[in-house]
């Protein structure tokens, strides 16, 4: 059986009921438009919210945790090896926060093929002296260039130039912290370290992450400045941050490298498990809503095809009488259903894209999100692919039962009935 004839017949039947066919196609179009717009918008927001934390979070972080030594002398002694030893009030040993042999570790990591980049960091607790009041806070000593490259540092520097951090004795304050200290760019502030060193630092800019608590306590300085502040040697590093090519490799790699380097390692999945859960649930909800829309439009197509079959019983009977078999009739109605799906779905995808472009233009400015100016949209082709294939699947099933009914029409019944 030639498809050209089937298509010709389907076309004629559709044009005969142009209005109904149009309504069915508009139904599909509307649901696909909503599906694409909804998912684009939802996932744009998801990506933004996740990015808020995940962009800045290293995939693996190496550090020395301050904790009591698990190997106590009494356990090592052969005299007590068969006894159950109770030791009370163990204190952490005077282990260093600094990572031993940091330079070598960084070199090893950088030559690892799974690693995108490595950035060292020093985290130090300080007091910011404002008149007679001391505010507690943190100075993060960073490698400015690497931080910008790997962790989108520059996105969050709202005023001032981040490159000025490379000059010694400069600091970039969290916005909340700066507001509390009334520190303008160019002002000099005084910082006291936990060891009691007092240093004067020049404010070169503000940092705003969107997380208020973070901005109220954190500030950034170059590694050299921080080492000077703490009175430590140039090899002093407390954290090594690693960004991988594939985020999913973080947990096994963290376990593996922890053993090799004999330091503590945290991976992003463990630290930020709740973000993934949130994202998954939001995605699930948007898919559920989108698919519901499509199913509803599927019922619309089902109704319209059923109506069409009742109206066209004569046509079906005559086609069968002149030699069309059930399969041909079935194909004609499936073709009608799929055409509605293709046309409605196609226009829906285009309109969905335009809707996304529209939403993308709507201003969305909040204090908390300095880098976001308009609503975020995800233009991932995946959603268009899913929307497109789903429109075909639903219209196919919407056409399946009416088509089966049409193919079962007995021409004798119809012709005799006249």
């Amino acid at each position: 059986m030639k498809w050209s004839l089937i298509i010709e017949l389907s076309k004629a039947l559709m044009f005969a009921r142009l209005k109904q066919t149009g309504v069915a196609a508009v139904g599909v179009m509307f649901s696909i438009t909503m599906f694409v717009a909804l998912l684009g918008f939802m996932n744009g927001l998801n990506a933004m919210l996740d990015g808020l934390v995940l962009n800045r979070t290293p995939h693996i972080r190496f550090y020395n945790e301050i904790k009591p030594n698990p190997n106590q002398p009494v356990d090592e002694s052969p005299d007590f090896s068969n006894s159950l030893n109770f030791i009370r009030s163990i204190k952490p040993s005077t282990s260093r926060l600094a990572i031993h042999n940091a330079e070598k570790i960084i070199q090893t990591l950088e030559s690892d093929s799974r690693v995108l980049g490595v950035s060292p960091k020093i985290s130090s607790q300080v007091f910011f002296n404002v008149g007679t009041i001391d505010l507690t806070g943190v100075v993060n000593g960073i490698d400015v260039e690497k931080e910008a490259q790997l962790f989108a540092f520059t996105d969050y520097v709202t005023s001032g130039n981040y490159e000025d951090l490379n000059q010694t004795n400069t600091i970039l304050l969290g916005k909340g912290l700066a507001d509390r200290m009334l520190a303008d760019i160019g002002d000099v502030i005084q910082v006291t370290t936990a060891q009691g060193n007092q240093v004067q630092l020049k404010v070169v800019g503000y940092y705003q992450s969107g997380l208020g608590d973070f901005d109220n306590a954190n500030s950034f300085a170059s590694i050299t400045t921080t080492q000077k502040l703490l009175g430590e040697s140039p090899s002093y590093i407390t954290d090594i941050q690693v960004k991988l090519y594939d985020l999913d490799q973080a947990p096994p790699m963290a376990r593996e490298l922890e053993q090799i380097f004999e330091i503590d390692a945290d991976d992003i999945q463990t630290v930020n498990a709740q973000f993934e859960t949130g994202t998954n649930i939001r995605t699930l909800i948007s898919y559920a809503v989108g698919i519901t829309l499509l199913v509803v439009s599927g019922f619309g197509i089902y109704n319209i095809l059923n109506m069409m079959i009742y109206e066209k019983l004569d046509t079906i009977a005559i086609l069968k009488a002149i030699g069309f078999n059930s399969t041909d009739v079935n194909r004609i109605f499936i073709t009608i259903a799929l055409s509605i799906g293709v046309i409605g779905g196609g226009i829906g995808l285009i309109l969905g894209f335009l809707t996304c472009l529209g939403i993308d233009q709507i201003p969305f400015e909040t204090e908390a999100l300095p880098t976001i100016k308009t609503f975020p949209i995800d233009y991932n082709p995946k959603y268009y692919l899913i929307g497109g294939s789903f429109s075909l699947i639903t219209t196919y099933f919407a056409g399946f039962f009416p088509a089966r009914k049409a193919s079962g029409v007995d021409p004798v019944d119809i012709i005799r009935g006249k």
Binding site: A12, F324, I415
Partner: protein, 229 residues
């Protein structure tokens, strides 16, 4: 057996029952033979089973007992798809209510069974369809939609459609039953012309005695039986 006597349609002991509302035998041991080139009419009173017989002969109704041979091939018990193919290829239909597809032009209506058969190219088919239309003097209406024609014109187009695949036999179910005297005469004359000029085998169910009188042979039915053939 000469070409003239070759059997086109042969029915052997056909029984047909209707089961609703209760069991009722509408055809009783119907047997007859139609040879190539014969113009046969089936007559009988309303309800004598002549239309039922025609639907069985046309292969559309498969729920019967007995044997049916078309072109010396047993077609009882064949699959629906195979029967559809036979209808397309070997049988031409004319119904009481013309049954053209209103969505298509006259020319397309005639071409559809040919397109389904798919033996010749579309251009060739279009040419053939025009030829058939010329037989019925309908060529100037070729591009009109089917529903723009009068009843008599539609019936002529329906006959042209029945002819498109050069079928072995044309079956008609009261083809003039719904037409006025003038159109009825035109249609009858066309059947007559087909019989004489083209030696077309035809089996027409009718209750118009005038029509029947003009055919080569009359099969008369009464109460589900053939009483004369």
């Amino acid at each position: 057996m000469s070409e003239k006597e070759k059997s086109v349609l042969r029915a052997e002991g056909i029984d047909k029952f209707f089961f609703s509302p209760n069991k009722n035998q509408v055809l009783k041991q119907v047997s007859f033979n139609i040879n190539r080139g014969e113009f046969v009419s089936v007559v009988g009173k309303s309800g004598c089973g002549k239309s039922t017989l025609l639907y069985i002969l046309s292969t559309m109704d498969t729920d019967y007992q007995g044997k049916l041979h078309l072109d010396d091939e047993l077609i009882s018990g064949k699959s629906h798809d195979y029967l559809a193919k036979i209808r397309n290829q070997k049988i031409g239909f004319v119904f009481q209510f013309h049954y053209l597809l209103n969505e298509f032009s006259v020319l397309e209506n005639i071409m559809i069974p040919g397109l389904k058969l798919g033996k010749v190219s579309r251009d060739e088919l279009e040419h053939r369809a025009m030829e058939k239309l010329k037989i019925f003097e309908m060529e100037e209406h070729a591009l009109k939609k089917a529903n723009q024609l009068s009843g008599g014109q539609k019936q002529r187009v329906a006959i042209a459609r029945a002819l498109i695949n050069d079928p072995l036999v044309i079956m008609g179910d009261e083809p003039t039953g719904n037409l006025d005297k003038k159109n009825s005469d035109i249609v009858f004359n066309k059947f007559k012309e087909l019989a004489q000029e083209f030696k077309q085998t035809m089996l027409i169910v009718t209750h118009d005695p005038e029509f029947a009188a003009g055919t080569d042979r009359i099969i008369e039915m009464e109460d589900g039986r053939v009483i004369r053939h």
